[in-house]
Symmetry: C2
Subunit: 90 residues, 2 copies
Amino acid sequence: MKTYTANITVTLRRAILDVQGKAVEHALHSLHMPSLGNVRIGKHIELTVTAVDHDSASAAVREACDKLLTNPVMEDYQFTLHELAAVGAE
Amino acid sequence: MKTYTANITVTLRRAILDVQGKAVEHALHSLHMPSLGNVRIGKHIELTVTAVDHDSASAAVREACDKLLTNPVMEDYQFTLHELAAVGAE
């Protein structure tokens, strides 16, 4: 078994108004940073996966995203998987 | 002036207990996904920056992170900057 680290980025779909992002944008402008705009706020999830290979680790992460971590109606996700150095004891 | 897109990832420092991550981890295990663990939840912020060059865009993002987007006591951040195709009208 190998251990992988997954970095998942969950973002609100483009078509959906990002209220939190708008609030942050207004705050940035109030703080005299008018050069920043189009703020969109999402989630970043980091987790470890124990699996026999990269493909099954990827399938496990996708299942977790579909079942729990994201709202498929409003959000999109993408992730990267990196194998951790051998951790035989885990 | 050029326009850049910044992708900022804000994570809770390692030393700080991630209660939300723990809750998600328990939920994953309840959903019969025991191979996933060490869940840590952070924020992903996407925004556009208008600046003369890469360096000043980077400085603007760093200022926004330090002043508003992150809590320097509890959180770390990292970001990437990509130049958007020329948008002379902006």
